[in-house]
């Protein structure tokens, strides 16, 4: 188990290295002179351009710039936002809680809808319920989140007046965004639970358990579902990435503070340090969460631990 943990943790290093390289090169992949782009809306003097270039260390050799970027990032210094003139790490700190809240709530919604739906569809295989719920799931996967978000606002905020359409803070404001984001993830989880469940239900040990005379429902929950959920755990990790990507849109639609809004604002303002820092943070979080999922996976599935 320890070797597995060590191996898994070490594998993160090259991934993170790749992430820093990708994020760093963003600045150079965008066509045009980054300093001119950042100052595009102003009437500027050459002095101001030179000053900005020096401030961003763009006058140094590229390798030195990259070294500085990595060393600073490891220290937690992600630079200073050009627009707000505050440390990027402070900006991230202020917004990460709101996005984490949204991601967790959406995940809860996704599991609460997805797992029972997939389970029931599998048990009632080929029935109208199975076909119907899988069609709904297909629609869910295909539905763009900005569209679903606007539908939610029109239905539950404008017409029914149950929930506010905008803002962050309390649980009340969390309902519509997390349901929007969770619904989409739930569709994927439902489809996966269904296929995984069908596979497990055909296994010998399920038949054995039934043959021993155990209650049907007990077999489903204790024997089959427990095993069927193992692949679903992997999907949690991967879905987390989708949730973060979805947060970019959902946070904008619902005017909710968070990392997604931070990135969008940074892109629109051509605030390179802010975008670089936030993307680096989100990518690192994504990698780490997948490592945690892998480790959790080893706990629930002994085959992996000893494999």
């Amino acid at each position: 188990m320890l070797t597995y943990l060590a191996r898994r943790s070490l594998a993160v290093v090259p991934v993170l290295f790749g992430v820093t390289l990708a994020v760093f090169s963003m600045l150079f992949l965008v066509p045009g002179d980054p300093v001119k782009i950042m100052l595009a809306e102003f009437v500027t003097t050459p002095d101001q351009v030179a000053q900005m270039r020096a401030q961003l260390h763009l006058d140094e050799p590229i390798l030195k710039q990259y070294g500085r970027f990595v060393v600073n990032a490891v220290r937690g210094d992600l630079g200073t936002s050009i627009r707000s003139r505050r440390p990027v790490s402070t900006e991230i700190g202020e917004n990460v809680g709101s996005t984490a809240q949204l991601a967790l709530a959406s995940m809860a919604v996704a599991v609460a809808i997805g797992v029972p739906l997939g389970l029931m569809a599998a048990l009632a295989r080929n029935s109208w319920f199975d076909v119907g719920s899988m069609i709904v799931a297909l629609l869910g996967v295909s539905m763009p989140s900005f569209w679903l978000g606007l539908l939610m606002i029109v239905a539950f905020s404008l017409h029914l007046g149950w929930f506010p359409a905008t803002g962050g803070g309390d649980l009340w404001h969390l309902v519509l965004p997390s349901v929007t984001l969770g619904m989409i993830a739930s569709a994927i989880i439902a489809r996966l639970t269904r296929s995984s469940m069908l596979e497990v239900l055909g296994q010998d040990y399920v038949r054995t358990a039934r043959a021993k005379g155990l209650a049907w429902w007990g077999v489903v929950v204790r024997h089959a579902l427990k095993n069927a959920l193992i692949p679903v755990i992997t999907i949690f990790g991967l879905q987390f990435g989708n949730l973060l990507a979805g947060a970019v849109i959902v946070e904008t639609v619902f005017s909710r503070p968070g990392l997604g809004r931070l990135i969008v604002g940074g892109i629109l303002a051509k605030d390179f340090p802010l975008v670089q820092g936030t993307v680096l943070f989100v990518a690192t979080a994504y990698v780490l969460i997948n490592v945690l999922v892998d480790i959790a996976y080893a706990f629930v599935d002994p085959r992996i631990r000893f494999g």
Binding site: P31, S84, S255, V264, G265
Partner: protein, 533 residues
């Protein structure tokens, strides 16, 4: 019977009079209800609330009644006293002396005086301070001199007439020196001014709150009464998604919103529970800067033909329906309006065709004109955020096809769009410019701005340069107007641009919200706003 009827009539009259006497003292209060919170949905979050650091209009929309200026520019364009009681520009045009009010205090209790004005302007030009639009407003600033406690003289290296209008605009509004010294970076979220509202809260990505300044006893220049604001507070919510913003107004979650998409406007205008208000923007309209150096646009006849061929009415009937007016010149009509400008280039496809033929471009087999085997092709530089180029340029494309010009759209992201403009690489972009003073044309047409922001017509014309420089020196309003009218006529004569649309600043309110006013910048000033309950 009449005898029975008359006492009844008297009863009614007495009752009515009673009601009136009771109601009368209440009436003024009912007319101007104080208290309440107004929630306004904005399309974006400001980069900062510091008036001197911001490059962005949204900052001044929020703080237009928080920080005050030495002068106020009313919607009719007149300059009136505000924090300054009077002002006098020197005969050589290189300085302006302001006599300041003596009864003004900042929200933090410190007095407003000549030192404070000097501190503010010195702060803007301090190389250590990263100024926004304010820096350009103080071009050639030489310094401020405190003549006495309430008199300050602001000097420039060269005569600088635009200063009088600019000193009345948000970027040169005055903040508390004490707050800047003591709170430093907090000015970005809590600028401390002297106005009828003060910033009390800022929650990033969510909202900013401004609350009534109870100590405000003066008469704001837009108001006809003295005393503090009616509302308790105003919450500016940042709601970037247009569909969401409109819905919050309809549901009552907000009571006002800014920036209404053209497609939602008819619905809001039909809704009797809402009211839409439109104010023209000062500056340059939505305008196509024709690159005068790149063939075939180096031929003025082709540029004029394009001006005749673009169907602005079609633009107004479709993509800009209800959110813009027709543009005629490189300044919007609110900046400078003249019958001579309005007559230029009516939509006339036949005339456009004749001009093109005169320039040697004959109709070709595929409908596109040719000259010496070369097709009449023009590359329009357009911004594309991923949803396709903006609809305005698509309409230009179809308008010009009708007269035999093939417009290729170079739809690209913003950074390369700028690069192409700097290098005069295309036949020009469609852009707009917000500016409170006609001197905004300096950056648009002066030869020193080719290769920078924003002379993207790439025009180098000695006569234009001379007029633009003259406009900077001329303080007399009538003579100034004549200079800029001459510049506009020259720009039209030479067809340096295609003026397309004068954008409107569009706000929508719940019907019970009343009393919003707008300054010349088209920013709302809200101390007289009431919410009828």
């Amino acid at each position: 019977m009449p005898t029975e009827r008359s006492p009844r009539f008297v009863d009614i009259v007495v009752a009515a009079l009673l009601i009136l006497t009771v109601a009368c003292p209440l009436a003024p209060a009912a007319l101007a209800q104080t208290g309440g919170t107004l929630v306004i949905g904005l399309d974006q979050e400001p980069p900062t609330l510091d008036p001197h650091a911001s490059p962005s209009a949204v900052t001044y929309q929020i703080i237009a009644s928080v920080t005050e200026n030495l002068l106020y520019r009313a919607p009719d364009g007149k300059l009136v006293p505000w924090l300054a009681e009077s002002w006098q520009s020197a005969r050589d045009g290189r300085s302006v002396t302001f006599k300041l009010r003596r009864d003004v205090k900042f929200h933090d209790g410190t007095p407003f005086n000549a030192e404070a004005v000097k501190f503010n302007f010195d702060r803007i030009v301090d190389p250590k301070f990263k100024a926004g639009g304010a820096r350009a407003a103080l071009t050639t600033y030489a310094g401020s001199k405190v003549l006495d406690e309430h008199t300050v003289q602001v000097s420039f290296e060269t005569p600088y007439a635009p200063f009088l209008n600019l000193v009345a605009s948000g970027p040169l509004s005055i903040v508390s020196p004490k707050a800047v010294r003591e709170t430093g970076d907090q000015v970005h979220t809590r600028p401390v001014g002297t106005g009828p509202f003060m910033v009390t809260e800022y929650v990033a990505k969510d909202h900013a709150t401004i609350a009534r300044n109870p100590a405000y006893t003066r008469k704001a220049p837009w108001s006809d009464r003295s005393g503090p604001a009616y509302l308790d507070s105003i919450v500016w919510k940042f709601v970037p998604e247009a569909g969401t913003r409109v819905t919050t107004l309809e549901s009552g979650e907000t009571q006002a919103i800014y920036q209404i998409p053209a497609q939602s406007l008819p619905r809001l205008e039909k809704n009797t529970g809402l009211r839409v208000e439109k104010t023209p923007w000062p500056g340059a309209p939505r305008i196509w800067l024709l690159n005068t150096t790149k063939p075939p646009l180096d031929d003025v006849r082709v540029r004029r033909a394009i001006n005749y061929a673009v169907d602005k009415d079609a633009l107004l009937a479709t993509v800009a329906r209800g959110i813009a007016l027709k543009a005629f010149a490189p300044l919007t009509a609110v900046m400078l309006d003249d019958p001579a400008l309005r007559q230029a280039y009516p939509f006339d496809a036949a005339k456009a065709g004749a001009l093109l033929a005169e320039a040697g471009w004959q109709p070709g087999s595929d409908g596109i004109r040719t000259k010496g085997g070369q097709r009449l092709e023009i590359v329009l530089n357009a911004i594309d955020y991923g949803g396709g180029p903006e609809p305005t340029v698509l309409l230009i494309q179809s308008s010009l096809r009708d007269v035999g010009i093939d417009v290729k759209l170079k739809a690209q992201a913003r950074p390369p769009w700028y690069e192409d403009n700097y290098r005069c690489a295309t036949h020009g972009p469609v852009m707009f410019l917000r500016s409170i003073d006609p001197d905004g044309l300096f950056s648009l047409f002066h030869s020193s701005f080719v290769g920078g922001n924003f002379n993207w017509s790439c025009v180098k014309d000695a006569k234009l340069d001379q007029l633009l420089e003259q406009g900077r020196r001329e303080f007399d309003p009538a003579k100034r107007r004549a200079v800029y009218l001459a510049i506009e006529k020259l720009a039209i004569e030479e067809a340096l641009t295609v003026p397309l649309l004068d954008d409107l600043s569009v706000w929508a309110y719940r019907a019970n919200v009343q009393g919003a006013k707008y300054n010349f910048n088209a920013y709302p000033v809200l101390s007289d706003v009431t919410i009828r309950r």
